[in-house]
Amino acid sequence: MLSQQLLNALTLGSVYALFALGFTLVFGVLAVINLSHGAVFMVGSYAALFLVTRFEMPLWLALLAAMAVSGMLGLLIDVLILKPLRARNAPHLIPMIATIGVAITLSSSAQGIFGAEILRFPEGTIPAGEFIIGDVHVRAIEIGIVGIAFTLMAVLFLAIRRTQLGRALRAIAESPKAASLLGINVEGLFHGTSFVAAALGGAAGVLIGLDFNAITPLMGQPILHKGIAVIILGGMGDIRGALIAGMFLGFAEVMSKAYLSSQLGDAVAFGLLFLILLVRPSGMFGRVLERKA
């Protein structure tokens, strides 16, 4: 029983971490709390579902295509909404409010196009294989979800830590002005970051859609709240922190549902977060970074 729950927690936690990763990346690099990230996640889910049902695309291809679709959406949001606000030096709250508008527009559109009811992947799309290790039933799809989430996170983590591109992003996170004067195309990397973050969010949407096999226009809302909790707990802009805090939230939620009360899962998980923040207001590993213009 416990090991079965641990597996569930690992699956859920890795999707939370993947979702929060894009969220924290945008905050770190663009200094924007992008509240449309949940809606982009939902669009990723619908995109994969649409491609699988309408075009009978294989699942792996639909996942890649859904990442491309949500990535383009993220890029579009940056170019059409965030960029003009940057150009006018809009204070922090403005882009945040603007992205709430984007989120509402996207979820209403999804509702208009696909309806409000819960949609599911057609029978046979999701690999049905199952392994039994000891007393734990491991669904093939769970292995896929955890594997894909960890691969994406590892690639991003190594790219940020070890490559020139990552160094440039970290430089922008500290001071976009100094970075631009060292020859870095800051606007270009803002666009690139928006694309990558949204693609990761879209991937998380597909994976959650597969895990629960339930897709709705409002599915981005609860995960957005969890994503906010995760990046605050992990330290704003901290990639490693997002990973660990995402896992933590997944474990807290699954364990409290399993052993305390199935209705109180979220309440317990968020209560724990609140307690941690009381003790460590800048997050689990947090130093609060100050950013110069």
Binding site: V155, A159, T163, Q164, L165, R167, A168, R170, A171, A173, E174, S175, K177, A178, A179, S180, L181, L182, G183, I184, N185, V186, E187, L289, K292
Partner: protein, 256 residues
Amino acid sequence: MLAISKLGKHFGGLSVLEDVSFDVPAGGIFGLIGPNGAGKTTVFNLITGLLKPSAGNISFEGRDLAGLAPHSVTRLGIARTFQNIRIFKEMTLLENVMIGMHQHLAYGPVALFLNSPACRAAEAEARQRALELLSWVRLDHRAEMLADNLSYGDQRKLEFARALATKPRLLLLDEPVAGMNPAEKTVLMEEIRNICQRGFGVFLIEHDMRFVMGLCDRVAVLNFGRIIAEGSPDEIRNNPDVIEAYLGREDEGQAS
């Protein structure tokens, strides 16, 4: 090398620079001095594309800089440091300098994920070059340290090395000794001479007169947004307008 002609800048109705013209010759150290608030930093911000001029032209080696984004100006061969130091504190010294090489380390994301040999070779070469630049300012033994742990004077030296990593032909230094103690000033003066001797043009703005007079080959004086004199340090020292506008009012040591 850098030609500034009839440059003007106003913010709303407030005129900060008016009809400013001077040439920075290739090689040597050029100084722009003037009291606090004379508009010196505005000149740098206009050159590097952080601000757009209201009037006039700036050209570098014959190319007009009007309308270029800061990173494009850097790529043409102009680097700068800031009056209030802006090193990347969360990164190591080595990484700070490698950021300066960004334009020269132009491997694409595909090569990067394939970890191609060309990409690895470029990385290794960049590390070597970064270490060499750090050794120029005698910080190579601390290459792996976080930049946040450096003393104020050493942070400035790191900023020099990072700016040189962009391979500039002209280095703009915005009050390089602001807030430094006399010992640090002496060290930095030496570093700036070294940079010049390695063939980089240096253009600095400063209000510490003794520092400028001891270091620069040519000096221009800015007062209330206008150039009031230009010449060798000796000529400037004896120019009555300068004495009245600037030297008569000693304001050395104030932070602007």
